[in-house]
Amino acid sequence: MKTLLSLKNVDVFYGRIHAVRRATLHVRQGEIVALIGGNGAGKTTMLCTISGLNRPGQGSILFGEEELTRRSPEQIVRAGISHVPEGRLVFSPLSVEDNLRLGAYTRPRFRDRAAIAEDLETMYAMFPVLRERRAQAAGTLSGGEQQMLAIGRALMARPRMLLLDEPGMGLAPLVVRDIFRHIVELRDRLGLTVLLVEQNAKSALKIADRGYVLENGRVILQGSAAELLANRDVQRAYLGREQD
């Protein structure tokens, strides 16, 4: 499979804090790749750098043939990467439907009118609870529903790649399983490529093809999901398994 996204020696600084150090990673077309690591390992910073919220100090980010390194978030959305941020960040005073429509903000409103309406239907079909609540303020939804809305909003831009930051955070295990099932479905049905950050390493690696382990802003380990799941260091540090 073709490489869709690649980061080469990316450094990110927050003031004097060196948050990401010479990170190199790649995601192939149609893959689900998990970034795992503890708190403050630089996972969120990495996603925000790809989506343009942070500017890398050094290094390069390539998406397909396009150089994304110092583009604005708006240009990166237009290039085909949608980022579902940590904490979901739905527009809580606006209705569910307005949230979804704003997801399509970068698309030409008149030329794409029919396609946007169609995509809205697709979202409602995928997440029926959103249709029920389409007129409700997004802030009144439950955590799991907000997560579905945030994913739906990101999909409305018709991205080729989805960046997901802690989609399971603060949700009940059953809801998390449901969300993860949707992520796999998105890849299988729409051919979407997914870069997934997750505190809960085990459930992330279960659906991922490959994974990278981050510590102190560095990639310290990489491999197929099965390899990482079987790795004793990973088990001890991130999967909460006791050593025998």
Partner: protein, 293 residues
């Protein structure tokens, strides 16, 4: 108290209050997108009035053309304020930006004084000055203009914010700029737009008020303060509250001037404001924060 003078004060208050409401709306729009209280808002109101005077008197244009040009001019001024004074320092803390707007207001006032002098100017009422008698109260045709234009503008803003994707994008920016940029909304462009809309709304208020209260280079100070008071009164951040706060302030001020003394007219607005802030600091229609984490 006889009913016809009560009616008279009410009408005067409504007229004045609508323009306070428009100024307050200007504050609200910028506050909602940026978190900044733009203390140059009163100057946009002044620019609307002074530019229409300039265009009619000095350039000899017809009033309708002059009025439109004045509003356009003030809108451009709003855009310039954002581009030249706010954007270069956009990453500064909000309080710095607020202080910058105070500086901008002094600058605009100074430029207006240099360009147009310190005199007070009048503008011809839009449809003559023969009062219409309503139940014993004299209503100036200009008062009807003020009310009608204010309502129209309010309806227009409402349609923009709840009916168009750009209006919603602006609301999205005000709610969460980070999430807004992640869906591809150009946040800086929305800030620019908010300054332009605020300036436009303020200038329209200034233009329609000028035939009633006259104008000079420094009317922006008091109008800005009154608009700000209206904003706080209605609950900062709530557009409906801002408009309502303006009308309430105008009516109370006019009743106070009529029944107590017009010497205390300006003080009254601030006394009401202080009294309300003691009782209900979030304003009459302060927004409740509903947020689920």
């Amino acid at each position: 108290m006889d009913p016809s003078s009560l009616l008279q004060y009410l009408i005067t208050g409504l007229t004045l209050g609508s323009t306070y409401g428009l100024t307050a709306l200007g504050f609200t729009i910028i506050f909602n997108t940026t978190g900044v209280i733009n203390f140059a808002q009163g100057e946009f109101v002044m620019l609307g009035g002074m530019m229409s005077v300039y265009f009619t008197r000095v350039l000899g244009l017809g009033e309708p053309v002059a009025v439109v040009l004045a509003v356009v001019g003030a809108t451009v001024a709003g855009a310039l304020v954002e581009r030249l004074a706010i954007r270069p320092v956009r990453d500064c803390p909000t309080i710095n930006l607020i202080i910058i707007t105070i500086g901008v207001s002094i600058l605009i006032r100074g430029l207006a004084m240099l360009a147009w002098g310190k005199d007070t100017h009048v503008l011809e009422p839009f449809s003559g000055d023969r009062p219409i008698m309503v139940l014993g109260a004299a209503v100036m045709p200009q008062a009807l203009w003020v009310l009608a234009v204010s309502l129209l503008l309010l309806a227009g803003l409402k349609a923009f914010f709840s009916g168009t994707i750009h209006g919603k994008a602006m609301l999205a920016c005000s709610h969460d700029p980070k999430a807004a940029s992640l869906v591809g909304i150009g946040v800086q462009r929305m800030v620019l737009l908010s300054f332009m809309i605020s300036a436009l709304v303020g200038a329209v208020g200034g233009v329609i008020l000028t035939p009633i209260t006259m104008t000079s280079y420094d009317v922006g100070i008091m109008l800005g303060l009154k608009g700000f008071a209206a904003c706080i009164l209605g609950g900062l951040g709530n557009p409906f509250g801002a408009a309502a706060g303006g009308v309430i302030l105008g009516v109370l001020e006019s009743l106070g001037a009529g029944f107590v003394s017009s010497a205390y007219k300006d003080a009254l607005a601030f006394v009401i404001l202080l009294a309300l802030l003691f009782v209900k600091p979030s304003g009459l229609f302060g927004l409740k924060d509903t947020k689920r984490v």
